[in-house]
Symmetry: C2
Subunit: 210 residues, 2 copies
DNA sequence: ACCTGAACACCGTTCAAGT
DNA sequence: ACCTGAACACCGTTCAAGT
């Protein structure tokens, strides 16, 4: 190893390691082993594990691709939110890391621009357009963070088994017990985004374009 | 120390430690020091750090209190979502831990029951009621996870400074640049929940009750 | 200038030994 | 039966020393 270790090499090796083994199992020493380098050599490129992980998180945001616009206004809103969420989910292992990715990737900027455009189409202007798009954007981020947590909070069968024990206090749960199947994260997010889009459209100054 | 260390003591000390110092700084050895006990004694109560953290996460879900129902149907839906989210945010440091809290607290069950009831009020039945409530519930969980990440993804001023550099490709961002102030997480979530509620109401079989 | 080995102050957890 | 001390196999990071 002599001047041959670029920061990009470090980031991409770290990304591979995290995607393969998760964030918890990631360590500077393992990364050094994979790079066939002394652990301390990495510290010549990145001042700490934290700084390296931020670079990794930023790299993971760069590849967002938007689907071509098609369908009704509501369809387009839902598609956009889903694209954001899906991209974030793909790099979910790194999401927690985001404490300061000040610079945004071109992909994310494209999504922001598309979203603002959609809001403008139904008459949202200025701060209202920003506000409306933010609802969509942060819902997508939340869904991405939540993805994988599904089945560990209300909704899975095992939860309801317990709930039925407390059924005296919870008549509605009792009535709907048979309908609590497993959660399809993707389907659920799309229907949520659709409801959100309908709500945004209803409050918009203009009619929904056809 | 002789038979005097209850699992409850361990959980509540762990909770205090995590709330005060965050999950990253939490360790079994520090917990043992706070409890004035040998680190290994904790392992007689909980088989691993992971298992202990799950018990902590579950304990943190127990205290959810619902606000008294008031206002329009939409107001109530928004209030419910906000209550869930606020409670989760309060214990946000522990949220990541949830890999298997199979048993739900009474507080969460109450929220599920209230939500299903609200959906029934506008005519959602069976699986549709469950589906509609899930949109609300998981939005709240997502918002809770996201809370604190605000200002690190699109929306903060520093982001837009960068975005303006790429302005040729992003006309909508350019037009709205001055409206990207800091994000008020709480206000944003409430307006998101409101849009969601409007969307759910619009698709409901019945009229919104007054 | 660039890299490294040894060392420091931590981890979670195992296990043989103590009372 | 209940607890513990020493030990193992790890961490991130510092820093003096090597080339």
């Amino acid at each position: 190893m002599n001047g041959s270790l670029s920061p990009e090499q470090v980031v991409s090796a770290a990304r591979r390691l995290i995607t393969a083994g998760g964030l918890d199992a990631f360590s500077m020493r393992k990364l050094a082993a994979v790079l066939d380098v002394n652990p301390m050599t990495i510290y010549l490129r990145f001042e700490s594990k934290d700084v390296l992980l931020q670079a990794v998180a930023q790299a993971s945001l760069t590849g967002l691709r938007l689907p071509p616009p098609s369908g009704s206004w509501i369809d387009q809103v839902v598609d956009l939110a889903a694209a954001i969420k899906d991209h974030l989910v793909a790099d979910r292992a790194m999401l927690r890391v985001h404490s300061d990715p000040a610079r945004l990737s071109a992909g994310v900027l494209g999504a922001v621009d598309r979203g603002l455009g959609l809001m403008a189409e139904v008459g949202y202007e200025g701060a209202h357009a920003v506000e409306s798009f933010r609802q969509l954007f942060w819902s997508a981020v939340g869904a991405a963070l939540v993805d994988g947590t599904f089945d560990s909070l209300p909704g899975s069968r095992s939860d309801l088994t317990d709930a039925l024990a407390a059924v005296d206090d919870h008549p509605h749960i009792h009535d709907h017990a048979t309908h609590f199947g497993p959660v399809d994260a993707n389907r659920l997010f799309r229907s949520t985004a659709r409801s959100l889009a309908v709500g945004l459209a209803a409050a918009a100054p203009m009619e929904i374009p056809s």
